[in-house]
Structure formats: C-alpha cells, structure tokens
Amino acid sequence: MKTEQNFISFDGVSYFYEGGESPAINNINAEIRRGEFIAVLGANGSGKSTLARHMNALLLPSRGRVLVNGMDTRNADKTMEIRRLVGMVFQNPDNQLVAALVEEDVAFGPENIGLEPGEIIARVDAALRVAGLENLRNRPPHLLSGGQKQRLAIAGALAMRPDCLVLDEPTAMLDPGGRKEILSLLLNFKKERGMAMVFITHLMEEALLSDRVWVMARGRIIADGSPRQVFRDTRLLDNAGLEPTPAALTAARLKKAGWDLPDDILDLDELVDFLCRL
C-alpha cells in the first residue's frame, strides 16, 4: 500500500543535456505523495527545472526511471495520460498562453484531450472561478497584468483536473502584487488538499508555505524535510547558494554578537515573539 501513496517517484534518475558533460540532475531518488505540497529550492543552474520537466515527460531520464501514478514516463503510449495528470506552469507568463482570448486559452487543454463541448465549458467555468478570472473571460491575454496572466496559466492547468500541479518559478517575473495573488491561490489549493503541488522557487519566504522542501545543488537533492528542519541549517543553504530569510539572518547576527537565540527563527513574527518572551 505504501507505493500507492507515491504519486510520482524518481528511481536513480540522471539527465544529460545534449553535449553536456556533467548531468543536469544526478541520481535522483525521491517521491511525491498524493496531495502533498513540495517546494523545490535551488540557485540558478542547480537542476530544479530539469527535475520538474521529468514530472510530466517533457524530458525523459538518461538513466533511471520516473513513475507517475505507476506509469513509466518513457512509455510513449502513456505520455498524454501523464500530462493530463500532471499540469505545469512556467516562469514567463507571456510565453505559455496559446489563445487570443482568456476562456479559449483555458479550453486549450481540454480540447486537446477530446472532451465534449459541454464538459469543456463546465471545466473552463470552474477553472476561471477558482482563479478569479470570470470577469476577464473575453479579454485578450496580452491586456492582462502579470499576475492575471499567471493565474490564467494556472486556470489552464486546472481545467485538465490534474492530480499534481508543477509550478516552475511562477512568481519570478511578477511585481509584489502579482506575487501575492499567486501565493494566496496556492495557499487555497493547499487548504483544499487533494491536488499535489511542486513549487519551484529560489525564495525562502515562498518555500515556507510548503509541507516539505527539497534543496537542490549541482543536480542533486541535498536536503529533504520540513521547511523548519531544512532552513535552520545555514551551512547547507550556503552550500546550495541560497540566502536565508532576512529574519533568520538577523537572528544569526544577534547570535554572533553573543546573544542566545534559537536557531529556527525564520520570519519576523517568530523573531519578535522570541524577543518579547525574554
């Protein structure tokens, strides 16, 4: 029964880009369980996007195998089924919208898998509602704000009713307002459960939303645990080229100045709380 729980599993997966000498990801062994929210952290070039692209057969392992809901991604007959189960949202909001109207863009996926028009409409309506875009359904995407475009990309993925949503740095190109829109949407999904999420980011603050964090460096997952467990290890973060949260840095500097602070302070709330309790 234990394997039932694993929705995606990586079995000794390595991947070499054409002409690349060292693997972009190197001997990855990991599982994503149903309904789980995982944040993948890593600096540029750590392999996090390559890893993500193995989750819906956009890339196939050079070595090892990836199973999605028990299906091997190398099995070409299953590619469509796998992509239906695992939706993906990319960094650049402009380059993943296909259609010239919001609602048509959401319908793109369902149309590709040959659903009946009535069913497509029902799914488009539901996805637009969840993403809060009902009022914009007849707009052309190029007139939307960055945050709205990205919510549209998420709606397009949701219309496929996926079991897992992979988000590859969806907030990297947004302004603070747009970033908040996306994060609050993800928090809603987390509350509802059901759908697993893999959220790729290089921001510690964003990763705090997740149940579990993977830290990647040089093509490997070098840490796997709860955000709290992982983030207190400043050496590890340093090794991965990541910057601790600002509050953690403050706590670290106070400690260095000789004050006794716990090493798991991650945000301002915790810092202020601790100082007040003294």
């Binding site: 469509m80 296909v98 010239a100 609602e103 040959g114 028009p117 190029h142 993925a157």
Partner: protein, 269 residues
C-alpha cells in the same frame, strides 16, 4: 506601452453582426467582395447599400474605420491618380504632358469606390469577429480541403498563435527600437545603408525573442497535451441560426443583383 490600434482590430460589442456565425461572415465577405469586384456604375449601389447597412448594424464606431482608411489613403490616392492620367479617351483637361480623360475620371472613381468597399467589407469581418471565431470559421470552411492534403488544422493553429503573439512581438519591437534610440540609433544619418543597419539591429533582438518565445510556447503546448488536430474537440461549436441564413441570402443576392445589372446593360457609364 504599445500606442495605437491596428487596422481591422476586433472591436467587442453585442450587435447582430457580431452574433453571426463566423462562417456566415466569411462567406458573406467573399460574396460581397466578388460583387464589388464585378460592379460597375449602378452596380455599386446594392454592394454599398448592404455594406453600409451591415456597418450601421454592427455598431462599430466610424472612427475605427476612418483609421483604417487613413493608413491606406496613399494607396487609394495613387490608384486614383494613375487611373485618371493613364486612361486614354476624351480629354477634359491638360497640364503639360498629363491629360485627364473622362474615361479616366470614371474608371478612377470606380476603382476608388471598389477599394473603399473592399476595405469596408473586410474590416467589417475582422472588426466584428473575434480572431478565435475567425480561425474556427476558416478551419470549418476549409475542412473539405483536408481530403486533398491541405493541413487545415495546422494552418488554423498557426493563425491562432500568430494572433496571440502579434501584439506581444510588436510591443517588443517597440521597446527594442526605443532602447536603441536611447543609444543614438537612427539619429545620426539617413542614408540607405544606415537605415538598413538600423533595421538589422532591430530585427536581431526581435527575432531572437520570437524564437525564445516559440520554444517556450511549444513546451507549454506539449504540457497541455497538444498533439496535433487528431482527436481534438472544440469548446465552441459553430451553429447556424436563422439570422445566418438571412445574412447569407442577402449576401448571395448582392452579386446576383450586380450581375443582373451588368447584363441588363444599365451600366450607368
């Protein structure tokens, strides 16, 4: 920000013309354009009447159409002038080597009217039909051609993507051009060579950007299970309503009327 409107850009409204099936509008446009091409003298009357009626019905502000004409007036003007001066016939006025003939004036006038109608009719189609509807309509109407190996779905998909990305790429070209102006491009000379170099330096980043986008877009499409036209369905089914039959009937009547007028010899000229 990209400043300006494109000629024939879709203008949202809820008019009877907007509500027509895109196939109806495409076919009607073809019929009316044929009629305009065939028309002579009084033959222009039914074409103009139906086109203007459709325009009023569509509630498209005149301003938009006017912009379309403004963009094309040079072509209109040149056509008119050429016809006036280079048609042999009864001389009305002579200015040096140039002579204006009666026939020229008439032909020029007709040509001008014909072009104006062409622009009006085709803009009417694109201004009242969403790009998506237009694509769907062309795909549907083109279906019989699939049997002869014409890649109708692929062409429609290309059109969809072009429609989606043209505004984005235009905006990008605009930004690049402004960035280069900020570094003194296009200011220090107006020789042909300079202009060519300026064009190249504009095109390089715009094309590089387009390729980058194309690559990302194709990944995004694959992610969303795109695998060509086979087994693909559509959210919006196209259905003809009574209004469509009416519009088609009227549109069919126009070229017939034009033909009848021509055959009856009442050419007005």
């Amino acid at each position: 920000m990209f400043d300006g409107l494109m000629v024939g850009q879709y203008i949202p409204a809820n008019s009877p013309v907007h509500r027509l099936d895109p196939r109806t509008k495409i076919l009607s446009m073809l019929l009316l354009i044929t009629a305009a091409a065939l028309a002579k003298g009084t033959g222009f009357l039914p074409v103009a009447a139906v086109s203007v009626f459709a325009l009023l019905l569509s509630r498209v502000p005149f301003l938009f159409l006017w912009r379309g004409f403004k963009a094309l007036w040079v072509i209109l003007f040149i056509t008119f002038i050429l016809q006036i001066f280079f048609t042999p016939g009864e001389t009305i006025y002579t200015a040096g080597p140039l002579t204006i003939t009666k026939e020229g004036l008439l032909l020029g006038g007709q040509m001008l009217l014909r072009l104006v109608l062409l622009i009006l009719i085709s803009s009417l189609l694109t201004m009242t039909t969403t790009p998506v509807g237009l694509t769907a309509g062309i795909e549907h109407l083109g279906r019989p051609l699939q049997r002869f190996g014409v890649p109708v779905h692929e062409m429609a998909m290309m059109m969809t993507i072009a429609l989606r990305f043209v505004p984005t790429l235009l905006q990008e070209a605009f930004t690049v051009s402004r960035a280069q102006q900020s570094r003194g491009a296009g200011l220090s000379g107006v020789t042909l060579e300079r202009k060519f170099t300026a064009l190249v330096s504009l095109m390089v980043p715009v094309f590089a950007g387009a390729f980058r986008r194309a690559e990302e877009l194709s990944t995004a499409m694959e992610t969303r299970c795109y695998h060509g036209g086979a087994g693909r369905t559509k959210m919006k089914l196209l259905t003809y309503h009574p209004g469509d039959y009416m519009a088609l009937a009227v549109s069919l009547a126009v070229p017939l009327a034009v033909l009848a007028l021509r055959l009856s010899g009442s050419n007005g000229g």
